[in-house]
């Protein structure tokens, strides 16, 4: 190829910029390695170029779809390339044009969802309209949260500090020095022996304790909707408090919102959650969403003995169909399954309790709270003794 390598480097930098605009994290270090990779792989074959860039710029399987689209736009479509070249001129800050907007929307979707065809980039059509994939039966709304006041935030932090989930510490296989530990630390003892006189002090270690990963599945359907703010508030504080936590929201579909809740600013976090979730205040399909969780996520997030916190009132639109098998599978793949039931419609509870009856035998802990007006109530409920009296016959 006659193109000077300088030109290629320029192109890669711009390609990386597009990826970054699409929401991927591509740092200078990765750009440098991709330039190096291309030097090795050569430019004769566009497939080689594709995989050389892919191996260096992408480090998540989910990003493949975005990369694929961007690659074909950038390196194949000559008109696009022309536009890119014009972008190389000093004023780069042109506002994102329509196809970009669309593609980054798709890209954001791709990051969130595990569509079954995610692994086959060649089948992806560029202009998939996201709204066409939703069934008519679903009520799709976006949520508008009022802003958190500083006082509320402080209150939340105080309340959360009191949160003590039962069995929330597991012994790991890693050890730490401990004066009365159960294992002898040979290395430290040896060191001490060289320093000490005739008597060698015996140094000890003990196993370290750690919080297990926490996975929260929170119902945000219509019947739960009024408390959505308190729940999200709770989940946000918890996300920033614990290191290994994954959060999923579900109504008729399952959305992984872990990434958004990591945002330290609660208002920003909540507004991005609100726009990511498309089934606020709709119906609930517990069996179906648990099934999606079991298939798409369970192996990825429950791997290290996670505690699962399931927040739902158990009112299922599908009348508990397929629910029992899925909840029992979830129970078997988690270390501990806690069900928090806000019992929002206590009066109408009995006649509709089919879902509840199916779920109860498969949870380790059942907790019910009547009126959640604050995060403190939630924390108090989770700290208290589990409700066992509600075993529906």
């Amino acid at each position: 190829m006659s193109t000077p390598s300088n030109h290629i480097a320029n192109n890669i930098v711009h390609f990386a910029r597009i990826l970054r605009r699409a929401g991927l994290t591509v740092g200078p270090r990765q750009i440098l390695s991709s330039i190096e990779a291309i030097k090795h792989a050569g430019l004769e074959n566009s497939d080689d170029l594709y995989w050389a860039l892919h191996s260096t710029l992408i480090n998540k399987h989910e990003a493949t779809e975005i990369f694929d689209q961007a690659f074909h736009l950038f390196w194949r479509d000559p008109r696009m390339l022309e536009r890119m070249i014009s972008l190389m001129l000093p004023e780069i800050a042109t506002p994102p044009t329509d196809p970009h907007e669309k593609s980054s929307r798709r890209l954001a979707e791709a990051l969130l969802k595990q569509s079954p065809d995610a692994a086959r980039p060649e089948e992806i059509e560029f202009d998939i309209d996201a709204s066409a994939t939703m069934s008519d039966a679903e009520v799709l709304r976006t949520k508008d949260f009022e802003q958190m006041s500083a006082a509320e935030l402080r209150e939340a932090q105080v309340a959360l500090r009191k949160l003590k989930l039962a069995h929330d510490m597991v012994t790991t296989r890693r050890t730490r020095p401990a004066s009365h530990g159960r294992q002898i630390d040979m290395r430290a003892t040896m060191k001490a022996s060289l320093r000490a006189g005739d008597i060698i002090p015996l140094k000890r270690r003990d196993r370290r304790q750690q919080q297990p990963p926490l996975v929260v599945l929170c119902d945000i359907s219509g019947s739960m909707g009024i408390y959505a703010r308190v729940f999200l508030h709770f989940l946000h504080s918890l996300s920033n408090d614990r290191s290994r936590m994954h959060t999923f929201l579900f109504g008729t579909r399952l959305t992984n919102v872990t990434r958004y809740l990591r945002n330290r600013d609660i208002d920003e976090a909540l507004s991005s959650v609100a726009s990511a979730v498309e089934d606020w205040d709709g119906g609930t399909r517990i069996g179906e969403t648990l099934r999606r969780f079991n298939i798409d996520w369970a192996r990825r997030v429950l791997g290290q003995g996670a505690t699962v916190l399931l927040i739902t009132d158990g009112l299922d639109r599908d009348a508990g169909e397929g629910l029992e098998a899925e909840i029992s599978k979830l129970h078997r793949s988690s270390r501990r399954l806690i069900w928090l039931n806000p019992l929002l419609r206590y009066d109408q509870f009995e006649p509709k309790a089919l879902g509840i009856r199916k779920m109860l035998p498969h949870v380790d802990e059942f907790r019910a709270v009547h009126n959640i007006s604050s995060l403190a109530d939630l924390v108090a409920t989770l700290n208290g003794t589990p409700t066992t009296s509600l075993k529906v016959a």
Binding site: N45, D47, W51, H54, T56, H61, V301
Partner: protein
């Protein structure tokens, strides 16, 4: 016998196929880049798609030593990097004292000597080998915890390990590092960024057939084709765990052992346990679903 590193993507593909590994172009490209850029290769994918096998094949066909570090929860430096042989050190101290040695500093030097160092996989991988830098396989990294990942960062970016009592040990030439993950949790970006990333996918029908013919040569040609078609169809179903290549091979071997020449419903029901490992999946596929897939395949081939 030591082989030179391949100098092009085509040569890499040849090298892998000589080692009986059927790789597609993308994988050959990534392996070639990892070798020529001397960067660790991070392979992620479902269980049983042949991630570990790549490291083994590379080691054999390049004539390098394979050093394997199987990861598990709680893996620490004592098991992964090095450990002192305390018993031998104790004896050394006793002997020195019996011999009347008074110089403690000298004793410390003697005791923390190379002779008493037990080398674990990571340290072994940094040491020069007559056959050239070894292949270091860090298998199932997702089973360890974050502290170990953080430790790996230093090792993989500098190819050196610091032992306080001895000093820093640096590899004269970086080993060929292959890290695999089954994605039971996300590996931190910082580590991935230092590696070349590749998602190892299930193979397409043609490549899977090639693999079955190569690795299960006793299976009848018709049967191999049917097995591959069936597994490919199965992967498009909503299963908790889709069968990997390892399972396809197991299944083909099992069917061959039972002298099956052609797939039928009974044969599938009898051997499904080699292919699917979740009771829910087996219950679902057994019977009508298997028959449906079979009918589907029949109508597709008769067309």
């Amino acid at each position: 016998m030591t082989q030179n590193l391949p100098s092009s993507i085509d040569e890499t593909a040849d090298l892998l196929s000589r080692g009986a590994y059927v790789a597609d172009r993308s994988l050959a490209t990534i392996v070639f880049l990892a070798l020529s850029m001397q960067r660790p290769l991070f392979l992620e994918g479902e269980a049983g798609v042949g991630k570990t096998e790549i490291a083994k094949v590379l080691a054999t066909s390049l004539g390098r030593k394979l050093i394997r570090l199987q990861c598990y929860e709680g893996l620490d430096t004592a098991a992964a990097v090095y450990e002192w042989n305390y018993q031998a050190q104790m004896i050394e101290i006793r002997l020195a004292e019996a011999g009347g040695t008074q110089d403690r500093d000298q004793l410390a030097k003697d005791v923390f000597d190379d002779r008493f160092l037990i080398r674990r996989p990571l340290l072994q991988a940094l040491e020069p080998d007559v056959n050239g830098p070894p292949v270091l396989l860090i298998d199932e990294l997702d089973r360890t915890d974050e502290p170990f990942e953080a430790f790996l960062l230093e090792v993989l970016s500098e190819y050196q390990i610091t032992i306080p009592e001895i000093g820093t040990i640096k590899a004269p030439e970086p080993p060929i590092v292959i890290i695999t993950s089954n994605r039971t949790r996300e590996i931190h970006d910082a580590l991935k960024r230092r590696c070349l990333y590749h998602w190892v996918d299930y193979p397409d029908a043609a490549r899977e057939l090639e693999i079955v013919r190569l690795k299960a040569p006793d299976a009848a040609a018709d049967l191999a084709q049917q097995v591959v078609n069936f597994v490919q169809a199965l992967r498009s179903r909503d299963l908790y765990k889709q069968p990997g290549i390892a399972e396809t091979l197991d299944w083909a071997t099992a069917l061959t052992q039972l002298n099956t020449v052609s797939l039928d419903e009974q044969a599938i029901t009898d051997t499904l346990g080699t292919l699917l490992k979740y009771q829910d999946d087996i219950a679902r596929v057994q019977g009508s679903e298997a028959a449906a897939i079979l009918a589907e395949l029949k109508s597709a081939t008769s067309k």
